[in-house]
Amino acid sequence: MFKLWATIKKDFRLLVRDRAGLLSMFVMPIILVMVITSVQNSTFELVNNNKIGLLICNRDTGEAGQQLIGAIEKIGMFRLVTDKEKIGEDQMAEAMHDKDVKLAIGIPEDFSARISAKAKQVSAQALKGLGLPEEEGDSSGISPSPVTLYFHPVLQPSFRQSVRGVLNSTLQLVESKYIVNDLYFRIHEKDIPDSLDNQILNNQVPIREVAAGRNGSSHIPNATQHNVPAWTIFAMFFIVVSLGGSVVREKQNGSFLRLKTLPTHFQLALLSKQIVYISVTLLQATVIFSIGVWIFPYMGLPELHIPGDFIALLLVTLVCGWCAASFAILIGVFAETQEQANGFGSVSIVILAAIGGLLVPSFAMPASFSIPMKISPLHWCLESYYGLFLEDGRLKDIIVNILSLLAITMLMQIIIFIGLKRKNLI
């Protein structure tokens, strides 16, 4: 026990005297978590709370264009900027820039006429189908003129897609209103009452959103719940800069060689390093989670909600820490220089984070990444944390993830042992 304690003391002293290592393990990740959560939170608020500027150029001479604008306004997603001068198509980009908006809609001149004609055609066909007398009815196909959606190139495809979906639903609403009006007119030979007309536009079936968490939880996830666990994992694995470098230094300066001449087994040195650096990862998680709970609200960010199953949280953090320490030692054993350990270690963590779903959600990754994703230890760390932080799961819900992580860690331990043997260090 004295030997282990002396070794832990030595490793702890080396750690606290490695200022660059401490900076990379504590200061940088804290800044990273704060910056990324703030950025993602502002994106989240942009979509959910702030209204997105939308320039509308209504060239329509009838009422349908105005009704479409009304329907878009009712959705509440956009801050409408109406163009009064009816600018041309070729001036839209400049107008968007002038009015500082990222989206614009151009409603064509014949929008009402086309919608009306299409409604008449559809209602005539409907009446014919019911065996009722039909009046006029243009049997030729009427294709409505397109409504043009202009977007700034910085907007992501997924965002454009959702705006397009919103626009489609409002267009359908206006089209449906015209069809119903026309049917009503043909049947009753008078205009539809205003009250009924308004119902078409206003009384849509409401949508209720429920976050499908585990164990009956329905917390709405936010940028903090997503980012704090993800970047904590990233920080844990960044111990590679300090630990990997420390292993390389000990190999290079001959300390390992001298240890081999002493009557103590080298495994003790590895055990000590793992104990010290797992403690570091626990401290990192505690500091980052504490910032999420107590500091974020002061920064205008959502407070971090700590999962109910604290034992599971501690276990996941321990296993993630062990995996991160094993990864760092693995890099240190195989790297020949400190530069190699730092460079390869850092880049490989970014790659493992990318394929593990830290940078892009795993469900959004291409199918070809499904196997590499499962090899990334960061993926299993993230899945475990998300099971707790986003779904409010219990230990039983994430046990498969923990076991997968343990399997990867054991594999790394075996490779470390083989590497040390091959390099004649044990």
Partner: protein, 251 residues
């Protein structure tokens, strides 16, 4: 001096080849070093001196043959022989970020010493090797001589019966060299076998009673230094060395 009659090192039919090399560096190599001797191992660069030391200390695994230290076999390397010897490597094999006290606390524990034994030995060694005033300072800022003395003090901390010294005085000033040599002779008087290699031949002449000259993994001369000088009609180790190994570059 209880072990004076046994062999400190016994090497029999040793064969060793570095991975990837076609020819073995040592082939059927034999050498005996008596207990309590001050033994010098010399030869040109690449002759195999450091490799032989690494084989004797179990740092490298040999292919066949046998090496024993004080009658105990080096292989299989199960660490039972490690308390018998101390090793002073060429490099500064300690932690530059730590102080001499912190280094000795750690290496002492790994040598199997108790906390109180480490403290006692530390006081003795720091006094003898002139590290008392810098005992709590970070080694990184030390001079080459101070680092050499610390390198030595770690190796002798557990009072080994055999001390392997691989170039223990490289890059030190005259004062430190004398201090180290005096200390080594003192250790030898107390019974420690010294197995020493260096390119400092004058220093070697002063320290070693018996020597072996090796070249390309073979012993080309092995006896008491005075006997060898007489038989080869040389008045110094350098002359003997040149007469046996030639003047051409070896690396």
């Amino acid at each position: 001096m209880a072990f004076m009659n046994t062999l400190a090192v016994h090497i029999e039919n040793l064969s060793f080849r570095y991975p990837g090399q076609n020819h073995p560096l040592f082939n059927q190599f034999n050498l005996d070093i008596g207990s309590g001797e001050r033994f010098g191992l010399f030869g040109p660069n690449g002759a195999g001196k450091t490799t032989l030391m690494h084989l004797m200390t179990g740092l490298l695994p040999y292919m066949s043959g046998e090496i024993s230290l004080l009658g105990k076999k080096v292989r299989p390397h199960d660490k039972t022989i490690n308390p018998l010897f101390g090793f002073v490597p060429q490099d500064f094999s300690f932690y530059q970020e730590l102080s001499p006290v912190e280094n000795l606390e750690f290496f002492g524990a790994w040598s199997g010493l108790s906390k109180s034994a480490i403290r006692k030995r530390m006081t003795e060694l720091f006094f003898t090797l002139g590290l008392e005033e810098v005992r709590n300072k970070q080694v990184r800022k030390f001079s080459g001589g101070m680092k050499r003395r610390l390198n030595l003090s770690i190796a002798v901390l557990h009072e080994p019966q055999i001390l392997f010294l691989d170039e223990p005085t490289v890059g030190v000033d005259v004062q430190t060299r004398h201090a180290i040599m005096d200390y080594l002779k003192e250790l030898n008087k107390k019974g420690t076998t010294l197995i020493y290699t260096s390119h400092q031949l004058r220093e070697a002449e002063d320290l070693c009673e018996k020597i072996a000259l090796i070249d390309e993994g073979r012993i080309i001369a092995h006896d008491h230094l005075n006997t060898l000088l007489t038989s080869h009609t040389q008045d110094g180790l350098e002359g003997l060395y040149i007469s046996l190994t030639g003047k051409s570059y070896r690396d």
